[in-house]
Symmetry: C2
């Protein structure tokens, strides 16, 4: 990374737009955010995105011409070459040429990427992966997603789908996944999957402790973690089983990708050792004497900033 | 590929050393082969390898100095950066510095690669993948191996292990694999795994037709294919189940790598539609409406030449 260039990262989320101006070493010089309010239509959302960029430039006294570019992280399938967002159901967007619109507006290079990929890029340059070139980033949250970083760059694949590690099949004929298949990692180890199984367990009366904890509401993976920490056998077993599958999936991915490091982020990674212990144990047992058994599996470091920093790294790294 | 350069490919196998001189377009100008005879010791094997190189150069009247380099395909874990073969049990080799020895002998650039990776490279440049840059090559043979080609180059990974697609876990607690884990793709869909299940089925008296076909010997995956073609229900079911798992594994790999093309080679791919039909059906069903469902899955084209051509492509491509 050169130190004389600046980049702007824009993280477009279903709820919030977060934007930051960074220097070539990823130091944040200015930042802002606003609500997305997608219901007001795409024109308004785009205007708000432009304004966040203008605001951070204004705050730091930097002209668009001084930028290496603007990186934009977007949900949904997209064409990273052109910056066309094909579909973002959360936003109600179809075929929005975000790249072209930003290029016209700011006259600087624009890069658009998938949010999980950019989170991986952020961790590589500024987070847990600073000392490596090749890493596998996995986010365990509502869903399970990933980013494959090779030589410091995102491996996007032929259709910008690469890194969809939530859809590797870890259990033939297993639970139904939103994608239509059965037994995807996401259908077993995501926060949603854990909550689904917890709810089913509560219905069967399997955990008085968890039932007390959640009251009238539906359990979340965080609740399951709390119950497990209090020694609840049902919750402990549910997390162990779910994250054993995550470990099997990671062992498979290590054999395929052979990265230097695995970084796990996303809300569910905040279960900490409840997630990392079964994952690491399963990976070690599965890989046996292979050199891959020694690849570190660590927690992401950037937290909520990962999206905006990753987006900025698209243009300054 | 430039057309004015020449390269030599050496395919070091447990049984045979095959060597070819190719031009920049992969046309074979001279070729030779000899038995490996590993039992005579590594010095002798290396001498034989050197001689095959000198023979093809002599036959074509080309001096070593005119070579872009020599590419060597080797079994076993190796360090592709230095050309050190860490371990090749078939040859009885441990820590043999093949790269350094060849460099000293011929004074040209030497590249060493894993045989499945080089087969992928050969298919990319000269075989089924000529028109794409990114492909996933899978060999289904005694074992299951693979090569990941990204941008026309082998993705070797941090420990030269990348592409070990035979060791993705497709069935938790499934059959024991040679690697120590359970439920690896190789333990279910390789020729060896199919032969193992066929033998077990014969013991249980499940297939008179297959029993008649193999007589006193042990069944091979080829026998199982023959019996299936004759309508044997046991053999048909065994192949369908094994290759459904292969299809699930490929669907997972498509989500991770997002290649332009999948190429399947190795002896078991000669079962043709008995392998490709269940694989393609499973991949389509699993991937549903994803763009990945349209990625072509085709048979390798280079046959027995794939190793030596892939090795040559390491230096001329």
């Amino acid at each position: 990374m050169a130190t004389q260039k600046y980049g702007v990262g824009v993280d477009l989320g279903g709820t919030k737009i977060a934007t930051a101006l960074v220097d070539g070493e990823g130091r944040v010089l200015a930042r802002t955010s606003c609500l997305t309010e997608a219901q007001e239509g795409q024109e308004k959302v785009l205007e708000r995105m432009y304004k966040t960029v203008e605001d951070v430039l204004g705050e730091a006294g930097i002209a668009p011409g001084e930028l290496a570019g603007i990186g934009i992280g977007s949900p949904g399938p997209l064409d990273s070459k052109t910056g066309l967002v094909l579909s973002a159901p959360n936003l109600g967007w179809t075929n929005v040429p975000v790249g072209d619109l930003f290029r016209e507006r700011f006259q600087v290079p624009i890069s658009v990427g998938n949010d999980a990929n950019l989170a991986g890029l952020g961790e590589k340059w500024l987070g847990a992966g600073k000392n490596v070139d090749d890493l596998l980033y996995i986010t365990v949250s509502t869903g399970v997603g990933g980013g494959i970083i090779i030589g410091g760059k995102v491996h996007t694949g032929a259709h910008d789908i690469a890194g969809e590690v939530g859809h590797i099949i870890v259990q033939k004929d297993g639970p139904q996944c939103n994608c239509g298949a059965r037994g995807c990692l996401e259908a077993i180890a995501s926060g949603t999957a854990i909550a689904r199984e917890a709810k089913a367990g509560l219905k069967r009366g399997e955990s008085p402790l968890l039932a007390k904890l959640v009251g009238d509401g539906d359990p979340t993976s965080k609740d399951v973690g709390q119950a497990a920490r209090k020694g609840d056998p049902f919750s402990t077993k549910l997390l162990q089983e779910s994250f054993t599958y995550l470990g099997l999936g990671i062992a498979s991915l290590l054999n395929v990708l052979d990265p230097q490091l695995v970084v796990i982020g996303g809300g569910v990674s905040n279960l900490d050792e409840l997630l990392f212990d079964p994952v690491r144990k399963t990976v070690k047992e599965t890989l046996g004497t292979s050199q891959l058994a020694d690849v570190l599996i660590v927690k992401a470091e950037l937290g909520a900033d990962v999206g905006v920093l990753g987006a900025a790294m698209l243009v300054v790294a």
